[in-house]
């Protein structure tokens, strides 16, 4: 890995290694949120939540824009993945489900024996 890539990976892991930031990221991936509204969801100051959003932004996970007095944040996943690699990622999730169907059925067959 190049140094720039290493730095990016550090920023990414740092951003994801915090429970509040993961929670913020899930929310903004599902749709754009104002930082004010996000802050209301947590038992911490607006400034603290704003700081978490800034860490996510630095890691390239979140895009921020201004609308009047509001700061709006949304998850940025476009930068990272092509459609093909996304379908492959999805395939892994589906394969997990299929494996669990198979295990569920197999566990019953064992009980019948």
């Amino acid at each position: 890995m190049s140094e720039a890539t290493e730095d990016q990976a550090d920023a990414l892991f740092h951003a994801l290694a915090d429970r509040t930031r993961r929670d913020i990221l899930r929310r903004v991936l599902a749709g754009e949120h104002s930082v004010t509204k996000l802050a209301a969801k947590y038992d911490m100051s607006f400034a603290a939540v704003q700081k978490h959003v800034a860490v996510l932004e630095k890691a390239g996970l979140v895009i921020k824009r201004r609308s009047g007095r509001e700061q709006l944040a949304r998850g940025d996943v476009e930068a990272v993945r092509s459609v093909a690699s996304m379908l492959t990622g999805l395939e892994q999730i589906w394969r997990g489900r299929i494996t669990r169907v198979d295990e569920l059925i197999a566990s019953e067959l064992d009980q019948e024996d």
């Binding site: 993961r22 599902a30 589906w94």
Partner: protein
Amino acid sequence: MPVTDVQQNLDNLTLTITAEFAAPVARIWQVYADPRQLEKVWGPPSYPATVVDHDFTPGGRVNYFMTGPEGDKHAGYWQITAIDEPSSFSFDDGFADLDFNPTQALPVSRNVYAFTENNGGTRATYVGTYASAEALQQVLAMGVVEGATSAINQIDDLVSGR
């Protein structure tokens, strides 16, 4: 592995997976028709699913949430569009808030699950068509976040000697 075929269609954002199971069609149907079985297979072990509502009829809703390692909850829904027991069912799915109100105007994907008899077992075909590349990215990014969370927790467990 029960998966026998995977087709990705990049033009219309469709994923088709075929799998074979060693149980009759009626048994595989039950996995989806019974909420207690559905929740066993839907979420990964690190994000188990809880099915709250399960109106498995055309026009009905299935509401569920998944619980992360830190007790964090993430809700989703299925809007059932067709049921043809035990051969196939169709649903639109999407993300929801914890009161199961969809968080977006449009569903994320349309899905058709079909089951046919195959040498005493079942051939299952799962087809998902995503509304847009953004919708697909969103679903996957959620999965990536979940994966990263469990990986980080495993590291936490390791370093703390649990």
